[in-house]
Every structure is written in C-alpha cells, then in structure tokens.
C-alpha cells in the first residue's frame, strides 16, 4: 500500500505534549517552481511544530494550498493547509480535503477567506457556499466518515481541523462566543489574528477562559514582525480587521529608514509582544506570521526563546526531567479534545 508522507511529530502530538507549541505561516508559491515553497519551509522548519500554508491570501492568486502543503510535508514538517470558502463550493472543498489527506496533509485551517475585492481578481465571482464554521463542521463530518450529502467515505480522511478568531475586530463581545461556536462545530485548535494590542487580546482571553474554551482547545496567539513604518501603516489602514496601535507605528517611524535598524526594531517589538503574551493565561503557544520575511523567524525564536514542543519534549526526556509535569499539562490540554473526538 502506498502511504502518504508523515512528519516525525504531528501537530496533534505536539499539542498533546502539553508544551508550548509554535507554528509559522510561510508565503505560498507565486509561480510553478516548487523550490520557492521548499526554501521558505526550510527557513522555518527547525523552529516550529507546524507550517501554515495560505490559500490565495488576500484574494491574490497563488499556488494551490494543497500542493504547497504537500511540498512542506515532504520537508519533514507537518503542514497546516488553509482552506477558504471564497473560491470553492462544497463539492470542491470536499474533494480538496480528501486530496490533501491523500498527500499527507491532515491539519486544515478553516477560514471564511478575505474577500476578492482586496485581491488581484476583484472581478471574480464570490463563492462563499459555506462559511468557516460550516467548513469546520464539514471537516469533522468527513473525519467521521460522511460526505455532506450523507454518503459514506471509505476510508475516512484523518483530518485535524482548526479555526481562527480575530479578537481585534468588532463586535468584540461576540468574538469569544463565535470561538465557542467553532469549538462546538469541531475545531481542534485555534490560531488568532496578529496581536499588536495586547490589552485587547488579554480581555478577549479573559472571556475565553470564562467560557472554558482554553481547556477544550489549544489556542495559539498570532504574532508578526513589522519590517518598516510603511508596512505598519499599510497594515493599519489597508488590511481590514488589523489593529496596529499608534505607539507601534511611531516606534517603527523612529527606527528610521535604515534597513538593519528598522528590521531590528520590528523584531524587538514582536519579541516584546511575545513576552507580554506569556503573561496571559490560557494560551497553548504562538503562531508566527512573518509575511514574506521567513528569514526573521530564526532571530525571533532565538530572542524570544521559542522552541517547538517536539524539541522540548525530546530534550525533557534526555535531561531526565520528570514526565509528570508534561503529563499534567498534557491532561489539562487534551481533556476537551478527547471529549470532542468521542
């Protein structure tokens, strides 16, 4: 039997270790050459537990996410394939999920998708046949061996569906509840939008903890390094749903135009945010979004002392660290996921 490529340690196993998990998004291929995707994957693979592969980010046409994710899987790191509802109806979504599973891609991040008006094909027909929550439900259904039509899937794909939440977009009070809906629909992990406003993120997590969601699914806080003041202003003004506080933009402006200095300041801000987020209870780790700047990941990991859970788990065993601590955190983390699996 032909077997799909499997990473040494999967994202699910990393979560199960109970140790802080690190994931990172890479830019998807902007041409037919697989070398571009492979190069980006290699830049980050030693620092993370899984690599996110976007699906036509911001509505700009790129290489298919399943193909890029399969390339990432071949590099020995577990891919997380983004699946958006913008470009495909329920038939295409189901066939893509099956195809991805056959290529060794089982982590799928269910997204609504940026609207095409912001992309390079604003004249395209919007699909949005399902929404992100219905997609989470669909993946869960397929995992249990059924198509949306009710027909049986044999064998069922062993999918590990995740979802996102954006704590920085209104209606703020509804965001934790929407997260709860996604968890109820079957989401097994959560990655958030990029955090620059730690206070707002902290308020969001407070509500999430009140709902007990941090006990049910691992939540990874999104963080990103800024590269220039221009990028900061662009994000604030042109990327809907992004909150970049004035103080952050000002710091990037003060860093000046010299490349080394502004890039250093961007990484410093990112590391500071990671340190602040470490104080927020209920987080299972971090999700890096370097936005075409994968070279920065090694530097951020070193400065913020971020290590993938898989390396820590291996290290703990070598050092003879008692496994009890790992076991305890592991139990608190998978309590909910085990329940969901039932």
């Amino acid at each position: 039997m032909i077997r799909a490529v499997r990473p040494a340690v999967s994202l699910e196993e990393a979560f199960r270790s109970g140790l802080p998990v690190v994931t990172c998004e890479i830019a998807s291929g902007d041409g037919a050459d697989p070398a571009d995707v492979i190069r980006r994957a290699r830049l980050v693979r030693d620092h993370v537990d899984a690599v996110n592969v976007p699906d036509n980010t911001a509505g700009v046409a790129h290489m298919a996410a399943w193909a890029a994710a399969a390339l990432v899987a071949r590099e020995g790191v577990d891919p997380i394939m983004h699946v958006t509802c913008r470009d495909r109806n329920r038939l295409a979504l189901q066939s893509d999920l099956l195809g991805a599973a056959a290529m060794g891609v089982r982590n799928i991040l269910c997204l609504t998708g940026d609207h095409m008006v912001h992309g390079d094909h604003p004249d395209a027909k919007p699909v949005f046949d399902l929404d992100s929550l219905q997609l989470v439900h669909l993946a869960t259904l397929m995992r249990r061996g059924r198509y949306l039509s009710g027909r049986e899937i044999e064998p069922a794909p062993d999918l590990f569906p995740g979802a996102t939440e954006n704590p920085f977009a209104p209606p703020y009070d509804f965001r934790p509840l929407r997260l709860q809906k996604k968890v109820e629909a079957g989401a097994r992990f959560i990655q958030t939008q990029i955090t620059f406003n730690v206070r707002r993120f902290s308020e969001f997590m407070g509500r999430v903890r009140d709902l007990g969601l941090d006990q049910k699914v691992p939540i990874l806080a999104g963080v990103a390094p800024l590269r220039s003041a221009r990028a900061a202003r662009y994000m604030r003004e042109r990327v809907p749903g992004m909150e970049v506080p004035e103080a952050v933009v000002r710091r990037m402006e003060q860093a000046g135009g010299e490349r080394a200095r502004r890039e250093d300041e961007g990484i410093r801000i990112c590391v500071e945010i990671i340190e602040q987020l470490r104080e927020v209870p209920g987080l299972a780790g971090f999700h890096l979004m370097p936005i075409h700047w994968e070279e920065a990941v090694a530097e951020i990991s070193a400065r913020a002392r971020l290590r993938p859970a898989r390396s820590l788990a291996a290290g703990a065993k070598e050092d003879g660290t008692p496994d009890d601590r790992i076991e305890a955190t592991r139990d608190s983390l998978i309590g909910g996921t085990r329940e969901q699996r039932a």
Partner: protein, 134 residues
C-alpha cells in the same frame, strides 16, 4: 427553522402539492415585498431572521450565517462595502433586545441554494427544512 409547525399542518401542505404551489405563488410576492422593505430580504428561502437579531445575514457580501468574518473595520463597517455597517455588528447589537437572544449562538447549517427565491413562510408550513447539523 425553529418555528414549530404542527405535524398535521405540515402533512396537509405536503400532501396537497398543487395547493402549496398556489399558496407559494400568492405568498411569495407579499413575503418578498414586506421583508425586503423592512429587513432587506434576499429571499434565501430559509429565513433565520429571528435567530440573527432580526438582521438578514444574506446582506453580508460573504453571506455569512454564523457570525462576522475577521475583516470587520474598527468602526464596525464592512470590509467589502465600507459605506455599510457590518451585518453582524448590527445583528449582535439587536439580538440583545430579543427575549430569545441566545438563538444567535445556534450553529446554522449550510444553505440549501436550490431553495433560493422560494417563500420561506411556505417552506416552514410544508416542513421543508434545511439540513440540521449533527
């Protein structure tokens, strides 16, 4: 839809298909006109207005029925149509005034697009429901 219609009524309309069709012809324009004027109805045929804070989710450019997308602007406006308030910002605000405010947390199943343009009222009477999430 969660509006309870007695089984005998549903059965009656199911059996008398010609009558149901006639009712559809009669009711559809009334429903379309009234709901369009008040709620901006798009006649999806599977009305969930009462569960989304009396705000039609089909007015969302992404036709999201389970909550807002992540692209809502800081001032609560739509990322696609900045001149419009986000449908879900309105829905969430309005739902607070409803005695059944918890209905907004219900997971809405995928839309049955084959029913677009038909009368949701007649569909309810005839017990033609969308697929329920399991």
């Amino acid at each position: 839809m969660s509006i309870p219609v007695p089984a005998p009524v549903r059965g009656f309309f199911r059996r008398h298909t010609a009558l149901t069709r006639a009712l559809e012809i009669l009711v559809r324009p009334i429903e379309a006109l009234s709901k369009k004027a008040v709620f901006g109805c798009k006649m999806c045929g599977q009305c969930i207005l009462h569960e989304t804070g009396m705000t039609c989710p089909m007015g969302c450019p992404k036709t999201l029925r389970n909550g807002p997308c992540g692209g809502v602007r800081m001032d609560g406006r739509c990322e696609v149509l900045p001149e419009m308030m986000c449908v879900w910002v309105k829905a969430e605000r309005r739902s607070r005034w409803l005695p059944w405010r918890g209905a907004i947390l219900k997971i809405q199943p995928a839309l049955d697009w084959s029913r677009k343009g038909s009368s949701a009222w007649v569909n309810v009477l005839a017990g033609r429901r969308g697929k329920e999430t399991s």
